[in-house]
Symmetry: C5
Subunit: 362 residues, 5 copies
C-alpha cells in the first residue's frame, strides 16, 4: 500500500516540477529531476589504440586543451548545477535547446542531428540493490572525436564498456568515437534485458500466487506490475525508431561499420518491444485468471452454504412439526414414532447427498 | 450526481446551438458558444526590440493606422459581437470561412495556410479557481508583422508571454511575429501539462479510494475521469499534426529558427498524447480493480453468511430433534442427556471451525 | 421489446430484397428499398443570378428543352419506377451501373468520376416527427450546369438550400452547379450533427437511468444505442474519404473556390467521426457502469441477507436449546432463567450489530 | 453439443490431411479435401453472340479441338482424380504450383498473373438445403478465350450465369472471356450476401433468445456464431484485395470495360467486410447482454431468498423463544399472550414488506 | 501445476543466460541455450543430378577440399562448442556478428544479405514424442553452391528433404543451392502446420471440457494455451516478412524460379498468421465461455438454495408457532388442528412450487 502512495507522490512532485517551468522562455536550462546533487562531477577517459588516460578536469578549459588524437569520453554526473552546464554547453557550442533537453529529466527519448554533433536523450533502466527498477535520465552528444555524456546519478550501466576500454578487450580501442557511442547505447539496451528478466520473474511469482493462494492484494500487485510494464514501454519503445534513424542517417560521423552494429541494437529493440507486448498480455491474463479464481471461490462458498442449508433446513422443519403442541397428534404416541422419524430424516439426508453427488457439488 | 446532470445540459445546449446553424449559408459568422459577452474587448501590444506600446484601440481604423516596424499582438476577447468581428475580418482581409471558424467554438483544432496569413484554431485548457478544467476556444492568425488572437473569455494562459515581452526576458523582443505565434502556442501546450498533472492527481486519489474504501460512487468517479481524459485527448491530439504541418510548411513567414522551436512543441505534444494514452489505460485498470474489489467484498460477505449458517443450522436441527414431543424418546430421561447433547453440539462447532480454518475462510 | 423485433424484421426484409437480385445481370436497375412509391415525382429549380424558375416537367423531353444559362437542380423523389428511371438515365447518358447504384438503396456511400459527370451515393440521416433516426438513400449526379438528385422519400434535408436559392441568401445564386452540389452535401452533413445531438441526449438520459434506477431493460437500451451508433458510423464514416477525393480531384467541374468549401465539410466529417468514436466509448462505459451497478446491488442484497441470518440464526439456536424436552435441564427451573437467556440474546444481538458496524456493512 | 463435436472432428480431419502432405515435394498435386468424388466430371459451354454449344467432352483432346471463335467455359467438378487433373494441367500448360493450389482445398484465396493466364483461388459460400453454410473450394483460370473452373462439389452458385448465357440475357453473350470471369466472381460475391443475410437472421433470433429466455446453451450458440463469422471473414476478406489487384493489373486480357464492373464487385466486398465487422461487434454485444442477463437473474434469485429469509427467520426466532420450556415465563400464562405475539409477528411482517418496497426489491 | 512452474524456471534460466552476456563486447560468440552438447557433429550431403555423397568430415579442412560441382548441404548439430564454430565461421568467411546470431538461441528470426552469402535465423517448431511443442533454434547461410545449417539439437524437420535428395524425388537434385535453401524453409513451414493442428486439437478438447465439465483447472489450461499461441506467434509471424524480403531481393543467388516457390511459402505464412489470429480469438472465446459457465453454475447453486430455503423456512415458522407453550392457544385443542395445519403447509408447498415453476426456476 505504501509503495503506491509513494509513487503517487513521486509523480505529483515530478508534475509540480514541470509546473515550475510554465511561463519560462523556451531554451531555459532547468533541471527537472528530484535528485539534486550539489556538485556535478566530470570524468574523462581519453584513448587511442596504444594510449589511455583517465582524469577529472578541474575546469572546462582543462578539458578543451586536449589534442585531437584521442577519442574522449567525457562523462558528467549530476544535472542540477545549471551554471556549470551552461558553461559546458557554450564550450562545446551546443544549441541552448539541446542543453535544455540534456537536463530536462522528463524529456522523452529523442535524437537530433546537428552539423557538428548528434544529440540523443535516452533512459537508462537498471535494478538497484533493493531490486527496484531505477529510471535514470541520460543524454549523449557525439562529436567527431568525443562523446559527451550527461547522466543524472553516479550509478550507470557503463562499467562493462569502461572495463573493455581499460583492458583493450574487443574492438573498442581500435575504433572511433562513433563506436564508443554505439557501445554505450548497446550497454544501455543490454541492461533493458536485465530489467525484463526481473519483470518476467515477478510475473512468474504472481502467476504462482494467483493459482495457489490469491488474496485481494494479488490484484493490486498485478495492477502495479501492469503500470510498471507500461512505464518501461514508454521509455523503451521510442529507442527502436531512434536507432533506425541512426542507421539511415548520412551523417559523416557514423561509419558503415558502426551501422552494422546498430542493426544489431535494432534487433534487440524489436525483441524488447515484443517482450513488453507479451508481458502486457500476460498481466492481462493474470488479471483474468485472478477474477476467474475469485468467482470459483465464490462458487465453492455458495456450494457449501447450499449443501448445508438444503440438508438441514428440511430436517429442522420435520423436527419442528413434531415439536408442535397439538393435543391430537397420534404419531407422538406411537411406540417407534421417534425412531421412525429419525429413519425418515436419515433417508432424506442420504437422498440429498446422492443428489449433490450427482450434480458434482461434492 | 449534480455535476453530471449539469454537464449533460451543457452538452445539449451546445448541441442546440449547433442546431441553430442548420440551414444557414456556409461562411456565416455565428458564435456557437454559451458564454456571451455583450462587448468584445480589443487589446494591442506592439513592440520592437527597443520600444513597447500597449493600448486598447477604440475602433478598427485606429488599429490599422500603425506603422510596420512593430510586431503587433492584437488580442480580441469575446466572440459574440458578430458585427464587430465581421468588420475586423474585412479590415484584415480574412476569408469569411476563416472568420466563421474563429467564432465557431465547437470547431475542432485546425490549421490553414493562406497567402497572406496562417490561420489556426486551438483549444486552451486550464484550471479555474475551483480546480475544474476549462476549455476555451482560441483562434490565431499570423500575419507578417502581426498576430491576431481571438479568445472566448477574459482568462487565458498567456500571462507568461506578456510578462516576457514587457520585461524583455528571453529572446522574444528580438524576434518577429512568427516567434510570438510560436510563444503563444508554447504557452498553450505548457498549460496542457498543468491539466495533465491535475488528471494525474485525480487518478492517484481515485486509486487510493479504490484500494481503501471503494463505494458505488467510486465507479461513477472513475467513469467521469475517463470521459474527461477522452475529452482532453480530443482537443490535444490534433495539435501534434498541426504543429508538424507548421514545421514542414514552406510559408515564408516561418523562419528556420522558429521551426527548431516548433520541433520542441512537437516533442511536447508527443509526450501529452503518450500521457493521455497511459491515463486511459490507468482509468481502465482502476475500473478493473474496482470490480475485483466488489467481487472480493461479495466473497467476504458470503463467507460470513456461510460460516454462520453452516455452524448454527445443524445445531438448531439437533435442538429441534430433542424438542419433539414423542412420548417414547429414551434419551430425554437420561440423567446427563442434556449435557451430553450440549457436548455433541460443542464438538460439531469445533469441527466446523477447524474445517473453515483449513479452507482458509477464517 | 417491440421496437427490436420490428427492426429485426426490417433488416431481414432488406436482406431478402438483396436476395431478389441474385442471378440478375450486373447493371440491372432494381429498386432495393421497402418504401415503394407508385409514382416518382420530378421537380426542377432553375436559376441564374437574376432569374429563378420552378416547375415539375410532365416528361423528360420537357426537362431537356431547357437552355444552358440556368443552373438546374433536378430533384427526383421515389425510386421504384424503374422504367421511368431507365428513361431518365438514357436522357442524361448515365452509365447503367450508375443508375443501378442510384436506386440500389443498400449501396454504401461511394463517389465515381466520369468524363461528363460526377456521381455520388450518400445517406441522409434525419429525425422524423417521432424523433426516430431515418436513413434515406440519396444519389446525386453533378453535370456542368445541372445537379440531378435521386431521393427515396418526399422528406429531405434540403429545405434550407431551397430557401437560400429562392430568397437569394448567401452566395448560392451567384455560383455554378458545383456550388449547388456542395451546398446539398453541406446540408446533409449539417443534419448529421442534429442526429448526433439526438444520440448524445439519449446517452445522457441512459446515463441518468444507469446511475439512478438501473433496470434490466437499461442494458437492453444501451445495446440498442450501441447498434444505432454502429449503424450511423457505417453511413457517416465513408463520406470523409469521398469528400477528400472531391478535394483532390482535377475534374474541371469543381472550381478551386468550391474546394475551399469542401475542405470545410471535410473538417465536419472529421468531427462527426470523432464524435461517433467518443459515443462508442461512452456506450461501452455505460455498459460497464451498468454491470458495476448490478454487482453493487447484489452486494447490498447479500449484506441484508447475511446480517439478518447472522443475527437470528444463532438466537434461534439458543431458543431451540431451551425448547428441548430433557427431563434434567436445571436452567429451566431457575427463577430468572428466562430473563437471563433473554439478556444473553440481547448481548449477542448488540455484539453482532457492533461487528457489522465495524465492517461497514451497516 | 453434437454439432460442435462434429465440427471439431471435421477440423482435425482437415488437419491430418494437411499432415499427409508433409515431406512431399512442393508442386505435388494432392487433393486436400474430404469430399472424394471417384470421377471428375467436365462440362463445357461454348458461345459467341449468335451461337451456343454445350457438351461434356469424353477426353481432353476433344476439349482442345475447338476453334478459337467461341468463348469457352470449361467447368470441372470433383478434385480428387489427380491423374486426370495433371493431364488437364499439361494440356492447358498450367504451372504445377498452380495445379497444386487448384486442388489444395485448404489454400486461402489468392490471385496470380501469368503470361498466358490469370489464376485465382476463391471460396464459394452458400446455404445448403439444411440451411447450413457450405464452403466450397473454387479455382478459376482465365485464358484469352477460355475460363477454366475447378470446383469441389456438384453444387455451385453459377446457375444464374448459365441462365443468362443460355437465354442471352444482359450483355454476357456479346462479351469476351474476361467478362465471363467477372460474371462468375460477381455471382460468387452475390451469394456471400445470402450467407450474410442468414447470419443476420441467426443474430436476430439469438437476440430474442437472449432477451426473452436466455439459457446456458444460448452462450454456446453465441460463441458458435462468433466462430462462424470469424470463418466467413477469413474467406471473404482477402477477396477485396484480389479484386483490387485485378482492377490495377495491366494484363491485356482484362478490358477497361470489365474493370468498371470489377469496381462494382470491389464495392460489394467492402460492404461484406463492413457487415462482417458489424456482425462481430454484434455477437460481442450479445455475449455482453447474455452475461448481464445472467447477473440480473442472479440478483432476482438472491432477492427472493433474502426477502423470504429476512421475513421468516426473525419470526421463527420469536416462535422459538415462546417454545422454550422455562418454568417461569409469565407471558405464557397471559390470557391474550398468544394473540399478542401473533400481532407482533404481523407488525414485523408489515414492517419488512414496507422496507423491501422502499428498497424497490418488491 | 508442475508444468507451469517448470516453464517458469526455463524462462528465468534463459533470462540469466541472457544476463551472462551483459558487459561482453558485441560480436562475441556465446551459446545462449540450455541444451549443451559436448561435441558438435557435422554432416555433409553433396549432390549433383547424377551423383550423391554423404560423409561426416573429421575437420574443417576436409570440408573445404570439395570440388565446386556438387551442391553441398553442411549440417552442424550442437551450438555449444564455441571454438569449433569460430573456426568454421572463419573458414566460410562469415561476419562475427553473423556467427553470434547463429549460436544466440534467443535471437528472434532475422535475415541479412551479404555479398557472398544470405544468412537467416529461424525457429523450428515440432512435436516431440510426448506431444509437446519443441522450439529449436535454426540458422542457415546460403552460399552459391552450399547451404550451411546450424541446428541446436539432433532432431529436426528435414527428413523429408533428405529423403527426396537420396531418392531423387521431385526437382531437388536438378536444382541449385537456392532451391535446397527454399526446400529447407518449406519443410520448416510445413511443420508449423503440424504444430497448429496440435493446438487446434487442444482447443477442441478444451472446448469440450468447458462445455461439459468445467473445473477451476480448465481456466488454467486455457491461459496456458493462450501463452503457447502467443509464443508460437512470436516465432512464426516474422517469417512472412523475411520470405517477402527474399522474394524482393535482387541477390544473384536466388533464381526467378525459386522465387515462384518462395511465393508459395509466403502464402503458407499468411495462412499460419491468420490461423494463429483465429486461435487467439478462440482462446479468448473459451475464457469467456468458461466465465459464463461459472456464472451459470453459481446461478444453479443459488436457485437450489433459494428454493429449499423459500419453501422450508416459512413451513418451519408455522411449526414453530404451534410449538409455542402459551396456555391459551385454542387451535391446539381442536380435534383436527394438527391435520389442518399439515394441510395448510401442503398448500403453501404447492403454491411455492407453482411460483418457482412460473419463474422457470424448476
Amino acid at each position: 500500500m505504501k509503495q503506491k502512495r509513494t509513487s503517487g507522490k513521486a509523480r505529483s512532485k515530478k508534475a509540480s516540477k514541470m509546473h515550475r517551468k510554465i511561463g519560462k522562455s523556451p531554451g531555459t536550462i532547468t533541471y527537472m529531476g528530484t535528485r539534486e546533487n550539489a556538485i556535478s562531477s566530470l570524468d574523462v577517459i581519453a584513448y587511442t589504440e596504444e594510449d589511455i588516460q583517465e582524469y577529472s578536469p578541474v575546469n572546462i578549459e582543462a578539458l578543451l586543451d586536449k589534442d585531437d588524437e584521442h577519442v574522449q569520453w567525457i562523462n558528467l554526473v549530476g544535472l542540477s548545477d545549471e551554471a556549470f552546464i551552461t558553461q559546458l554547453g557554450k564550450a562545446f557550442q551546443l544549441n541552448p535547446l539541446v542543453l535544455e533537453d540534456a537536463v530536462h529529466t522528463t524529456q522523452r527519448p529523442k535524437l537530433d542531428e546537428y552539423e557538428n554533433y548528434i544529440f540523443g536523450v535516452f533512459k537508462m533502466l537498471y535494478l538497484n540493490q533493493e531490486q527496484n527498477v531505477v529510471v535514470e535520465h541520460l543524454a549523449m552528444a557525439l562529436f567527431e572525436k568525443k562523446v559527451l555524456v550527461f547522466q543524472e546519478l553516479k550509478d550507470d550501466v557503463f562499467d562493462g564498456v569502461r572495463h573493455r576500454i581499460r583492458t583493450k578487450t574487443g574492438r573498442i580501442r581500435t575504433k572511433q568515437a562513433d563506436y564508443l557511442f554505439f557501445a554505450l547505447l548497446d550497454a544501455m539496451v543490454d541492461n533493458y534485458f536485465v530489467v525484463l528478466e526481473h519483470i518476467n520473474e515477478r510475473i512468474d511469482l504472481l502467476e504462482e500466487e494467483v493459482y495457489e493462494n490469491p488474496k485481494p492484494q494479488t490484484a493490486h500487485k498485478i495492477q502495479e506490475l501492469k503500470k510498471e510494464v507500461l512505464r518501461i514501454r514508454r521509455y523503451a519503445s521510442p529507442i527502436k525508431e531512434l536507432v533506425g534513424r541512426l542507421i539511415d542517417t548520412e551523417h559523416h560521423f557514423i561509419t558503415k561499420d558502426t551501422k552494422l552494429f546498430l542493426r544489431d541494437i535494432n534487433d534487440h529493440c524489436l525483441e524488447i518491444n515484443e517482450s513488453l507486448q507479451i508481458y502486457r498480455e500476460m498481466t492481462m491474463s493474470l488479471m483474468e485468471m485472478y477474477m476467474s479464481n475469485v468467482s470459483n471461490k465464490m462458487n465453492e462458498v455458495m456450494k457449501v452454504l447450499t449443501i448445508m442449508a438444503s440438508i438441514f433446513i428440511p430436517l429442522t422443519f420435520i423436527a419442528g412439526v413434531y415439536g408442535m403442541n397439538f393435543e391430537n397428534m397420534p404419531e407422538l404416541q406411537w411406540r417407534y414414532g421417534y425412531y421412525g422419524i429419525l429413519g425418515v430424516m436419515l433417508l432424506i439426508l442420504i437422498f440429498m447427498l446422492i443428489y449433490f453427488k450427482r450434480r458434482r457439488w461434492l
